[in-house]
């Protein structure tokens, strides 16, 4: 049972930077707990892969310590860490059969033949590769090849963690679901720490117990899918998770009330006085902004889009764009729409970071 600890891990590809913006991976403290499935979620170029490569040892971090359990492995070469990694594009050894491919990591570590055979059979069974075991690997389809890559990652029983670097990019959408649920099952069966890099929020939220949202080299929030949805700690998490993303309005906050664009609205908590001259916003997800026939803030309707399952109204509140959900019984919408904002799910952000309020 090992967990992986990042102790002030940071990385810059050229020397020690003067300030935070010079880091490709900004200083990060985190403990990856054994047995959990994590997703690293963020846009392209946000440092997800760098973080993954730091853990696997393909990149040596310029600062900080990396611990596997109690052991400091920061400078240990990849092959001496008990880490498996699966890459974006399937890597298979062309000249070998499927079975030989799966056995390769064990063979390199000089495991006895019987152990190898047993383990290969187990993994092949888990990934539905048994029928192909004696075929040449290079004639297979992309998803079968990626399954072999996955299998090579899982075949070692001593791994501390299996890292996935967007492993389903090359797979057909229909097969993606199947492979992902297979991965989930494997995760439950093997009780491993898994870290899964992706830029697809659905993939991240369905796969992981905990999601690490990254932006611009920084881990902006680490939490369960529900936490990311209901309590985004950073405006970026609000934008990035959810479709469409969170609404943000510039505001002035006094106690439990917020003044937005000349209107006053209630907040779910009481806030201390905010410093002057800083960027203060209130954020609320479209799911908690509802069109209503009763009392509400008057907004101008710009367009309505019907997603089938729900209808969204793109409105403007005194010039500020906002997305609201329309209730099912509200058939037609005029030029103005009264909107009701759920105070309990409205958050206050000071310079993009969520401010905790006191319960009212």
């Amino acid at each position: 049972m090992t967990s992986i600890t990042l102790d002030h891990i940071a990385h810059s590809y050229m020397g020690k930077p003067k300030d935070d913006s010079g880091y490709q991976l900004k200083p990060l403290n985190h403990v990856w707990e054994h047995g959990l499935a994590y997703a690293l979620l963020g846009p392209s170029g946000c440092g997800k892969t760098t973080l993954l490569n730091v853990i696997s040892g393909l990149v040596i971090p310029s600062e900080g310590r990396l611990l596997f359990g109690e052991r400091d492995v920061t400078r240990l070469p990849t092959e001496q860490r008990n880490i498996a990694q699966v890459f974006q594009f399937p890597v298979i050894y062309d000249t070998m059969t499927v079975a030989e491919n799966l056995a390769f990591p064990l063979k390199n570590r000089r495991q006895p033949r019987l152990v190898i055979e047993k383990r290969v059979a187990e993994i092949a069974d888990m990934l539905d590769l048994t029928a192909d075991l004696n075929r040449r690997a290079r004639g297979l389809t992309a998803d079968a090849k990626q399954k072999i890559s996955l299998g090579r990652g899982l075949v070692r029983s001593d791994v501390s963690a299996v890292l996935f670097d967007e492993p389903l990019t090359v797979i057909d959408p229909a097969l993606k679901w199947e492979l992902r649920s297979k991965l989930k099952r494997v995760h439950r069966a093997l009780d491993l720490l898994m870290i899964y890099v992706t830029h697809d929020q659905i993939e991240a939220l369905t796969f992981a117990d905990k999601v690490v949202v990254m932006n611009d080299g920084r881990a902006v929030q680490i939490g369960t899918p529900a936490e990311l949805f209901y309590q985004p700690e950073h405006t970026f998490v609000g934008y990035f998770i959810g479709s469409p993303g969170m609404n943000f309005l510039p505001a002035e906050v006094r106690g439990a009330r917020a003044h937005v664009a000349g209107f006053e609205m209630a907040l779910g908590a009481t806030y201390a006085d905010m410093p002057k001259g800083r960027n203060i916003q209130v954020g609320v997800r479209p799911e908690f902004v509802a069109g209503t026939r009763g009392a509400g803030l008057p907004a101008q309707v710009r367009r309505v889009s019907d997603l089938g399952r729900k209808r969204l109204a793109y409105v403007s509140l005194a010039g500020h764009p906002l997305v609201a959900t329309l209730p099912h019984d509200m058939e037609s919408v005029g030029e103005t729409l009264n909107i009701a904002i759920d105070a309990a799910n409205t958050h206050v952000y000071l310079d993009d970071v969520r401010v905790a309020g006191r319960a009212p």
Binding site: Y93, M96, F104, R152
Partner: protein
């Protein structure tokens, strides 16, 4: 429903190419075929000789058959020696070449330099280089007490020609292998590190299989070029001492232009051409078949 119009006028566009090929290949080849089935007593009088030139050539008990056999054996031995040295050496050097940084450009240029030198200049350079009186290489070897003399000693002549070819043409294998190696995505090397593969296992399981296609090309090119080698041994040794380095092309030249024995020379050049073609065809077919079988 209208019938599909048939229009073969596109063939006219092929005519210029046909005309060019006619004069560049077909007419000269057919001239050789013509000589190979006729005999002459001079004065431009030719008479039919059937397949007698070919019978003589392929019969080792005749003088010309004996001569052809020896030259063919020498040429094959030379090709094989060069391939055995150049292919592994080329791969090895390509593996050591830098992959990134400022050193890539200069090192590739330095490696490619020998290839840019014209054949007869290469011959002249080595002819002077290996002289035992004023040549750096020849004089140095003799100074070390070794018996080295290109014009008198068969072994000296042979090693010189082989070393010269290795120096001149290993760069081709290096460049081809280097290009092949660069085409391997980084993920393969990273995966191999994760899998705990040794350097040798990486070479055997990743690099060599990925190099297979360029190596087929490299072997084909090097076989053809060494099997047809002419200029460099002609300049350095002139086919000697004796006939130690008289390869097929040099022998052919002696028979055709030295002895003006057109019938024998024509038969020999046709057989020579067919051997080159057959070896390349068989090698290429076997390699592509092997590749295809591996996919199943």
């Amino acid at each position: 429903m209208t019938a599909k119009p048939i229009n073969n006028r596109a063939w006219f566009f092929v005519l210029p190419v046909l005309g060019f090929v006619l004069f560049s290949s077909i007419v000269p080849t057919m001239t050789v075929v013509n000589y190979s089935v006729q005999d002459t007593m001079g004065a431009n009088n030719f008479f039919w000789n059937g397949d007698q030139w070919f019978r003589d050539l392929l019969n080792p008990t005749t003088a010309i058959g004996q001569r052809f056999n020896d030259a063919l054996f020498r040429t094959l031995a030379f090709s094989l020696t060069c391939l055995v040295i150049e292919i592994p050496l080329g791969i090895a050097i390509a593996l050591c070449a830098p992959r990134k940084g400022w050193a890539v450009g200069p090192s590739l240029v330095v490696v490619a330099l020998p290839m840019l030198i014209p054949w007869n200049v290469v011959g002249t350079i080595w002819q002077i280089f290996t002289r035992e009186d004023i040549g750096l290489y020849g004089a140095a070897l003799n100074g070390l007490g070794l018996h080295y003399n290109v014009t008198q000693d068969a072994i000296s002549a042979w090693t010189t020609i082989v070393v010269m070819d290795v120096w001149h043409w290993t760069p081709l294998v290096i460049l081809l292998s280097y290009a092949g190696l660069r085409a391997i995505p980084d993920a393969y090397y990273q995966a191999a590190r994760i899998d705990g593969a040794s350097r040798w296992a990486v070479f055997l399981n990743i690099e060599l299989p990925k190099l297979q296609k360029v190596l087929v090309i490299a072997v084909l090119l090097r076989f053809m070029q060494t099997f047809m080698i002419y200029t460099e041994p002609f300049v350095v040794t002139g086919g000697g001492p004796g006939s130690a380095t008289t390869f097929l092309s040099i022998d052919l030249d002696k028979i055709a232009l030295g002895q003006v024995d057109l019938g024998n020379a024509a038969a020999m050049s046709l057989v020579y051409y067919l051997i080159t073609l057959t070896v390349c065809y068989v090698f290429f077919t076997i390699m592509t078949q092997l590749e295809r079988r591996r996919d199943v």
